[in-house]
Structure formats: C-alpha cells, structure tokens
C-alpha cells in the first residue's frame, strides 16, 4: 500500500529574493489527526526549513496562526487536514496586510490600532482628571476591594472580551483593504468592551477614535468579519451598536445641546 498524501499550495515570498509572491507546492504524508499547523511543521522540519509562519499555543488561544485557507481566513491550528483531504489545500497569508515573508504579515499597524482605543479601565478618578467638569460616580466596591459587578453586568461585555487578536476579521474586511486607516473590527470591539464594562468611565475618551470617519463610520456592515471570527466576538455588532449610538448622540445634540456636548 502506498502512503496517502495530501498537497499544500502555499504562497511564498522571500523579500530578499522575490519581487512578488508566488505559490509553492508541497506533497506531504496525510495524517488524519493533523492540523494545518502540524502540516506546516512537517514541511519546515523535513522539506523546506525556510518556510516561515507564526504559531505558538496550537490550541486556538494565542492568535498567532491566522492564515487564509482556500480563500477563507482561519486559524492554522484549528484547520484540519481531514476536512480537506484528498483535495489540495491552498494557504495564503492574511489579506489586507503587507506580507513580510511567506505567511508572516506586518502586524504593527494592527497593534497600534488596538492601542488607540485606550483598552484599559478608566476609573472615576481618571475620568474626572480628563474632564474636570464631569461628575463621575465611582463604581461601588465589595468588602475585599473588588468592584461589585453582577453576572449580568459581566455578561454585557464578556463576548467582546474574548478576542484573541488573531486578525482574521481584518483579513475578512473589504473596507480594510479599501481604507487601510480603518481602525477595524477587533480594535473597535475592544473599545466597546471597555465602554460596556460597569467598572469603566472612559467612554468619552474613546469617542474620538470610535466615532471617527476611520472608526465605525468606515464600516458598511459587510458582516464577514463576524462570520470568520473563531471566538464569536461578533465585532460587526460592536461596530454597528456604536454607529447607532453615535447617530443617536448626534441627533440628540440638536435637541439637547448639553447631552451632545458631554
């Protein structure tokens, strides 16, 4: 019996030798239990040690291994050969990012966008420092010093805190390709996560970025970001909840200037 094999077509790019990326084909033994990541490791260990990609946890939680598999952004460690066998698997780096080498893309812009939404608790003290005119009431604390937060209050933002920063949603978003300045799904969802947290009082400080034309208003609700998200974060919902909120605030600013100004 000959060994079963499976073919992988991988988009390769070596910045020091190639002018543009091109596909390379590898034929490897087929193993039912293998993830795509296992297959790549086999290639790197046995066939071509220059194959370059990111990975670490191999349990779909570190967010390193996003890649485009047969046209769909996916986590390499959560893609299994058995779901494709005997067909060839086509692997490309995440779309809408510059390719550094093979499957590695430039993530610095993404990280800067994450940072831009001030993704940390801004408590009452800090909120009043930022805007002394504003009266903010500190969230009550429990005896031991933790904030009191009911399960329902936690439930409000929990989904948006599950993002592993895998960037699949950026690869899925055509607006991202058309406007690279777009803050993008994951970062906007992260800002929303803090805005929804009962311990946080910093929503005003995030408004500028979130309601910017490169913020939620760059989104046309294609919705594919939420479809590819491996953690059911539903960033499209986060963005469009903010659009609705933004539109409401804008309208209210005419009726009740004070509310609009806050």
């Amino acid at each position: 019996m000959t060994e079963q094999t499976i073919k992988l077509e991988i988009l390769r790019y070596n910045p020091e030798a190639d002018n543009e990326p091109s596909f390379g084909t590898f034929e490897i033994p087929y193993n039912e239990a293998w993830s795509l990541l296992d297959a790549l490791e086999y290639i790197k260990d046995e066939l071509d040690s220059s194959l370059t990609y990111r990975w670490s946890c191999r349990m779909a939680v570190c967010g390193s291994c996003g890649m485009v598999v047969n046209g769909r952004p996916q986590l390499g460690c959560e893609t299994f050969l058995r779901d494709h066998y005997p067909n060839t698997i086509k692997v490309e780096p995440l779309a809408n990012f510059p390719i550094e080498k093979d499957l590695i893309v430039d993530a610095t812009g993404f990280i800067e966008k994450l940072e831009s939404v001030k993704p940390y608790i801004i408590d009452a003290v800090d909120a009043m420092k930022a805007n002394p005119a504003k009266k903010v009431k500190e969230t009550p604390k429990n005896e031991i010093g933790t904030y009191n937060q009911k399960p329902a209050e936690l439930g409000l933002f929990k989904q948006f805190s599950m993002c592993i920063n895998c960037m699949l949603c950026y690869s899925a978003c055509p607006q991202m390709g058309l406007n690279p300045m777009f803050t993008g799904p994951a970062a906007l969802a992260l800002g929303h996560r803090y805005n929804l947290d009962s311990r946080d009082h910093g929503s005003d400080e995030r408004t500028e970025v979130i309601q910017d034309k490169n913020g939620v208003w760059s989104c046309t609700f294609v919705g594919y970001c939420s479809e590819v998200c491996p953690k059911n974060v539903d960033p499209a919902a986060a963005i469009n909840q903010n659009k609705a909120q933004g539109a409401q605030d804008w309208a209210l600013s005419f009726l009740m200037p004070r509310k609009g100004e806050k």
């Binding site: 040690s49 959560e78 933790t146 311990r199």
Partner: protein
Amino acid sequence: MQIVNADIVIVGAGGAGLRAAIAAAEKNPGLNIALISKVYPMRSHTVAAEGGSAGVVQAHDSLENHFQDTVAGGDWLCDQDTVDYFVSHSTEEMIRLENWGCPWTRKDDGNVNVRAFGGMKIERTWFAADKSGFHMLHTLFQTSIKYPQIKRFDEYFATDLIIEDGRAQGVVAIEIATGEPKTFLGCAVVFATGGSGRVFRFNTNGAIVTGDGHAMAFRAGAALRDMEFVQYHPTGLPGSGVLMTEGCRGEGGILLNKHGYRYLQDYGLGPETPVGEPKNKYMELGPRDRLSQAFWNEQRKGNTIETPLGDAVHLDLRHLGKEKLMERLPLICSLAKNYLGVDPVTDPVPVRPAVHYTMGGIRSDQTCKTDIPGLFVAGECASNGMHGANRLGSNSLAETVVFGKVAGEMAVDFASQATQSDEKILAEQGRSHLSRIDAMRNANGTEKASHIRHEMVQTMEKTLGIYRLGEEMQEGVDKIAELRERFKNVKVEDKTKVYNTELLLAFELDSSLMVAEAMAVGALNRKESRGAHQRLDGFEQRDDENFLKHTLTYFNGDKAPRLDYEAVNITRFQPAERVYGAAGEKQGEEKK
C-alpha cells in the same frame, strides 16, 4: 550595532514580564523601561492557562492553609519564607487584576467566585471561566498600554545577557523583522521568559516555551535549580497534548479506567467520593504528581484504554450537564471537539499525562534576586523556592503577578542605585556576542536542527518520565551530551535576515539542550523519590536526611553542568509524610 538605552530591560512579556513592567512604571514613573518579547505579548504562553489563579478569600480559609497546602504539595522542598510571602500577597494581586478589568467569574451578589483545585484544602482559585490565563494576560497587556514609559520591543529575540563590572547591564536581542542584532542597555535586567516544557515531546506548552532565559542566565553564571522536577499534568489530550484543565475536576469531573472504575481510590486518594461532589484533596482533586503516577500504574496493569493516539483514561464530565459545561468549561468543550472529535457533553474525553510545568528555574529568592547582581527573575523561568518538588495548580499564575511585581520594583531600586558602566565598554560587550549570532547564521554543518530536536524530545520523554530509573537517566544524560556535541555541526539553511525563524529555532534548540542536560543531570543524582521525581530503582522513598535540599547546576562549557546542593529554608512546617484523601484528613486531625 544599534544601542537602545533604557533604565530597566525586561525580557519576556507574559504574565510576569508585563506585571514587572507595570510595577516598575508605577514605582518610578521617570524611568525608561524596555520590554522585550520574542512574540507579541498576548501570544505569550500565559494565554493558554485555563484553570485559574490562587488567592485566599473565603472567611473559613486562611493564609496558613494556603501555606501548608503549598509546602506539603511541594513535598517540603519549598522555601517556606518564599511561600509565606507568596500566600500573603497573592490575594491583593488578584484584586488588583480585577480593578484593572480582568473578567473573573462572579457570584450572583457581585463578588468574585472561586473554584476548587487539586491539592488545595479550600476553594481559593479565582477563575475567568476556563480562560483565566487568557484574560489575565490580555488585562495586563492592555493595562500596560497606559504607561508611556513602557517601551515595547515586540518580536525581538534575546540571545545573550550583557555582564559588565560583575553585574547584568543589558541584553543583546535580534529584531526579528530585520534580523538586526541590537544592544539593549539598562542598569537592571529582569528575565520573565517562561518555562521550558518544550524539551519534552508530549507537552501542553506552546512553541515558544523553550527555556531561552534559563540558558542565557546559565551561560552567564547563574545557577539553575531543581531542574529535575518536571510536572506531568494528568489530563492532556492524546496526540496534541492540549490541556484539559484541572478545573474540569474542580467542577466535578471524574477519571475512569477502561473498566469504568475510578482507579484513584487504589492510590491513596480515596475513599471514593460521590460522583458530582468533588471533595478537596480527595480522589480527582489530589495533586498532579500523584494522579499522573496513578495513570502510569494503571497502564502497567493493562487498565488503560487503547486509542489510536496512545493509551488513555477517561475524563468523564457528562454528569455536569450541558449548561454548566457551557458556562464553566466552554473552551474545554470546543478543544475536545476540535482536537479529538469528542463532545464532553455526551462522551467521556480520553486523556493522558503530558509535561506541563517546570518547577525548577533560575535560582532566586523571594526578592527575585539571582546569583548575578542586577538580574532579577520572575514567573516560570524562576526558581524562587515556592513550588518545591511539585507545583499546585493555580499557584503559578498567581506567582507571575506576585513576583512579577517584586521583580519590577527590585529592578527599580537596583537601577536607581547603580551607575551604568562606560557605554563604550558595554557596546564592545554587545559586539562580542555578535560572533555567536553570526556563527549561528552561517552554520553550515551537516546536522538538521529539527532532527536533533526530535531526538532530544524523545530522549527526555523516554528517560525522564513519570517514573525514573538510574540506568535510563544515565542514557538520557549521555544522549543529550551527544546531541549537544552534534549541534555544533548544525546547518542553518535559510540565510535571509527578515523573519528568519529557522535561525531562531536553532537558538531555541541550543537553549533547550542546555536546559535538558541540567534536568537530566539533576535527576540522575537525586537518589530519592520526591514530588514529581519518582524513582523505581531502589530509591522509592523520600530521603530527607540526604536530599532535603535544592539541586544546583552550573554551566560548565561543553561539559555536563557542575552540580551542587543547598539547604531548603524551613521556617515552621516540619517535613511530614505527604498524604491525601482520608489519610490526609487523619494526619490533619492528629496535628490539631
């Protein structure tokens, strides 16, 4: 060679490194902090921790309880002053994380909930469903963004420590995106580089857990301590090694052999507790080393279940019901489904022990100081004496923040007293390390690094398993020495500079081999059984007379590491027999 000047250089941006950076930034906002990590911070392996983080909160619990559980769990190889410091500071760290936004699971009244964990007498494990480490890491990373003085160098790979004037004054690190080595200078250096579980084949660790920090400190003269103590987690998925958290058992999951029998009662962990009513320190909530050892024995008796991916036992969670599983263990459910095709709601999950944690590390103490002045260590890379011969689950996430903070603050104190040596001399030092980088880049031998790695992990699995034999360990020592020799003849085929991951893998392998050798040598010479180090060749008992002491290993060039020992700090809890289940309860009564 570019020089990056900072006041404090921190290597590693997992739980410990991020906490150190924040502590340093808060202690002295005027200092510049360079935070170096070979991966983006949220990729650090802290992200994979599932179960939770320990800190005493309940009224009927006490610091003394946590102290005793930890020391007994570590089979009395713990430094008790360190454990004392740890237990009395972990709760405040958990609270701080909460204040920073960590979404700990809550009780209906808005307080934080805690769950039971193996070897812990009373529930004290804070958890965020089964993604505790993920949420801790993201909270710390996101909070660190608040501090402009923390300058991150993401995707920089540290290769060497710079020692001048007898103290650590920086590191050399390669900017992975360009391949350029850079010299980072600072008056104090913190290592928070994580563990080294990847030196074993079957493990729950991520690709980056290769012991780089251990090797850098080791080569610079610091001791690696207690490296032979390697924790096998009893419940990894066959094949991938992906972890099924101890939280599964904390919530009431049970372990069954092929006859559907809860075999743990045969190994001093009984009597059997009713299904669905987990009892602390009984049965499935015994400590990890005991559970892994029980698996080994069941396997010998032919009681394990054969699966295509190797022998296993069943982790049965079905009785918890779908709703509870979805609320408390959602990640576990999806991992089991994806990686094994088993739905825990309807079927028991096959599991087997997998290497999980390295108790040993760079020798330090409760102040995070090391043998090298100016070098502080925290997190899994450190051996500050708190885990002894076996770590209790949920103690190490807490360790990353408790001692991350200490390391950050100590580094600030040290940096504000020290003056930097002449920059020219330091730059020269930095350049001297270039030759090693160049040599690796141009390595043109005949050995394939990947094959050496495969041989290393197989050797470690075979010779340093759950139970150990002198002969086999000797074989392991010899084999690792051979691999180190062969590594000198390695070939790095990829000659590009941009994202040369093959080069980085070679550096990691070099580090892993040194760590592996320290483990093997330490194990071979520990002629007793204690905690995670269990021998079957005439040294089946704990030997307090000769081995109630820490193993120290020192770098010795190409030769095997030099061995030494040092006393364990015992303040008030005298060594006793380590017993669980009903026997444990009896011992507790007698003491009162």
